[in-house]
């Protein structure tokens, strides 16, 4: 199974949202990382065939997804970043409706809906109207609908937004158990989510793919560039902030502990530490 994206471009008047994006995706979990406006959502929508690219092509197993039509959508699951529900539908009705649109027979749909409601912990709320749901509950319902057809390609745009830490852990486990032999692409601002479940990370900036690799590969590039150092007064913190990319500032007693990404040792007392994905994200996206 392969999803190949070839020089995909989306242009809105004067703005290029996605710029000649190419990649070949094999089964695995892909974390799409990028700042707001980097083009992640536009890219995902084009993969889902709900936005037309200005140029470029997306092929599933060598065939253009446009020509595959229903056959492509049959193996697709999508959780959009912002989307609406039918407030007067119950959770069960909503999932049954989407299941019908996904072509599941009534019997199969009932089994799958009950199974997913249990997985996303909405079993007791199945007969409640969606308008009574909290943001997190709606998000869990959204995750359930995306997985109804056991999709081979699962696209999740900010799936963990609105979920509490416990739910996020549950979601990560769900994706990990689900992703075997499937292509899962997820975008998130919560870097730790990607760190835990992504096999490969795709970093996007201004519509372009600027980096890809496993978390280990990407972090390897940062090895020796992440420092922990102590500053003793406000003036020194200010000076370091102007000069380096500061990842974290932590005040403790009369001193300030700083986490800095830099190729050079920022201070005499700086100690080299293990980089993480947050360092990578901020190193690439912090505006200087």
């Amino acid at each position: 199974m392969e999803l190949a994206i070839d020089r995909l471009t989306k242009q809105y008047k004067n703005k290029i949202a996605v710029d000649r994006f190419s990649i070949k995706l094999k089964p695995g979990v892909y974390g799409l990382l990028g700042a707001n406006g980097a083009g992640k959502t536009t890219l995902m929508r084009m993969i889902c065939d709900i936005q037309k690219p200005t140029s470029g092509v997306i092929k599933y197993n060598g065939k253009d997804i446009k020509t595959l039509g229903e056959n492509y959508r049959n193996i697709l699951g999508y959780l959009p970043q912002d989307f609406g529900y039918y407030p007067d539908f119950t959770a069960y009705d909503f999932l049954m409706y989407i299941a019908a649109l996904k072509g599941l027979s009534k019997g199969k749909a009932e089994l799958k809906v009950n199974e997913l409601l249990a997985i996303v912990n909405l079993e007791n709320e199945r007969k409640q109207k969606i308008k009574t749901f909290s943001g997190g509950m709606k998000q869990r319902l959204g995750i359930a609908q995306a997985m109804l057809n056991n999709p081979k390609i699962l696209i999740l745009d900010e799936p963990t937004s609105g979920l509490d830490p416990k739910e996020r852990v549950k979601f990560r486990n769900l994706i990990s158990s689900f992703s075997q032999d499937k292509i899962v692409i997820l975008s998130t601002h919560i870097v730790s989510d990607i760190e835990f479940i992504a096999d490969e990370i795709i970093v996007m900036k201004e519509g372009k793919k600027i980096l890809t690799g496993t978390p280990e590969e990407l972090l390897q590039n940062l090895k020796g560039s992440v420092w922990k150092c102590i500053a003793y007064d406000k003036k020194e913190v200010e000076m370091l902030n102007n000069k380096y990319c500061i990842i974290n500032i932590h005040q403790e007693n009369n001193q300030v502990e700083l986490r800095i990404v830099s190729n050079q040792k920022p201070t005499v007392n700086a100690v080299n530490i293990e980089p993480n994905l947050e360092d990578l994200y901020l190193a690439y996206f912090q505006e200087k």
Binding site: R45, I50, D88, K102
Partner: protein
């Protein structure tokens, strides 16, 4: 597909706004159609006035007294009687306009229950009240039905609008031929259920507007509430999903309009009764060229109404698939539906007038008296047929476009 249609219907009925509109319009329709009965007036021989059900009973009794086949002899007798009364100075008085006319007593005793009949017969001899009959030379009046045909022919040949436009020769032939096929002699009896139903029939447009309000968000609601992002990525979201929306809209429109239609008919018929179905529609206008009974004309009108409904539903769905905001869809819909209310049209010769005749408010009901025709190549179609053809065509084209637009919709 059944499940999808069920959920689409659920979406329509789940909206509180829709329920309010549906119920309000039902009450409004029942009220408007009942008014023809509750406000009905009749006067007896002594000049005493009655209103509502009592007036209807009195009127029915009066009509029954003069009911029967309108043979040539019967019509001549009626005219002769009128002339005799008018020619007798004892029967004449000065009316409120200062004109000489039959006195109130004679009017109440003789003319009151015959006025509809005589006014209608008078159309063959002139346009004005019953004056044509009063001065008619009965010596030369051999056959009423021949005179009627002659009059229709004259109207067809001489009709022209302010720009001098007339019927084409083919149209003239069509109408003269159609008119000749009308069964005569006419039978006269009580038909007020039908005539009063027809006098308010256009008000069913309220039901049409209610349906448009309810379905204006069928497609655009998905765009507006961003549910399109999920629906259009599902296997059948762009195909069966769109078809289900269309089917559900039509089921909803058909059921609701049928409820409105039946309520309207019942509101009138419960007051006036449904009798008169076998009588010719010429009792409404003697010059009508359509060979139809009242019952047939009602069926014909129901078919026309459904054709208009289906066309407008198709158009609404197309607009809904194209425009993100349901309010905009609704505004366009209402403009199309209500435009003819503000424009008066008399002839059907100019292209704009011909189009106006086909606009929903004018087209939803036909009284089968207008001789408006459309030339499509060598074929001549009269207004009712053209209405059906037009709205069914609109429906087919609009639905193809709606489905295509929705399936190609790009999320924002």
């Amino acid at each position: 597909m059944r499940a999808l249609v069920k959920y689409e219907l659920k979406k329509i009925f789940n909206k509180k706004m829709n329920i309010v509109v549906i119920i309000s319009c039902l009450f409004l329709i029942i009220l408007l159609f009942s008014l023809s009965g509750t406000d009905f007036l009749a006067t007896d021989e002594s000049g005493e006035s009655y209103k509502g059900k009592a007036a209807i009973i009195l009127r029915k009794k009066q009509i029954k007294e003069i009911a029967g086949v309108l043979t040539n002899e019967r019509i001549v007798d009626e005219i002769k009687r009128l002339q005799e009364l008018k020619n007798n100075p004892d029967n004449i008085a000065i009316d409120s306009y200062g004109e000489k006319d039959l006195s109130r007593e004679v009017y109440n005793k003789y003319l009151n229950n015959r006025l509809n009949l005589l006014t209608n017969i008078n159309h063959v001899y002139g346009d004005d009240y019953i004056n044509g009959l009063s001065t008619l030379d009965l010596e030369n009046e051999k056959n009423f039905y021949e005179s009627r045909e002659k009059r229709i022919e004259e109207l067809i040949v001489s009709s022209q609008d302010y720009k001098g436009r007339t019927y084409t020769n083919k149209e003239k032939e069509y109408w003269i031929e159609k008119s000749k096929n009308v069964n005569t002699p006419f039978e006269y009896d009580f038909y007020f259920g039908y005539s009063n139903l027809y006098s308010t029939y256009e008000m069913l447009i309220i039901g049409l507007i209610a349906i448009c309000i309810c379905i204006s968000s069928v497609f655009s609601g998905e765009y507006q509430h961003e549910t399109d992002k999920i629906l259009l990525t599902t296997k059948y979201g762009k195909s069966k999903g769109a078809t289900a929306k269309i089917i559900a809209s039509y089921i909803f429109a058909f059921i609701l309009f049928s409820i409105y239609l039946v309520s309207a008919i019942l509101a009138v018929f419960l007051m006036f009764g449904a009798e008169g179905g076998n009588l010719p529609i010429q009792l409404l206008n003697i010059l009508s060229p359509y060979n139809l009974t009242f019952a047939q004309s009602l069926i014909y009108n129901v078919v026309i109404s459904y054709a208009v409904l289906f066309g407008i539903v198709g158009l609404t769905l197309f607009l809904s698939s194209k425009i993100k905001n349901p309010i905009s869809t609704l505004v366009i819909d209402i403009c199309i539906i209500m435009l003819p209310v503000f424009l008066s049209i008399k002839s059907g010769f100019g292209i704009i007038n011909k189009i106006l005749f086909l606009m929903p408010y004018n087209a939803i009901y036909s009284n089968f008296t207008k001789m408006v025709s459309y030339k499509l190549g060598n074929i001549i179609l009269d207004l009712p047929i053209m209405t059906i053809v037009t709205y069914i065509s609109i429906m087919v084209i609009a639905l193809i476009c709606a489905k295509k637009t929705y399936s190609k919709h790009q999320v924002e």
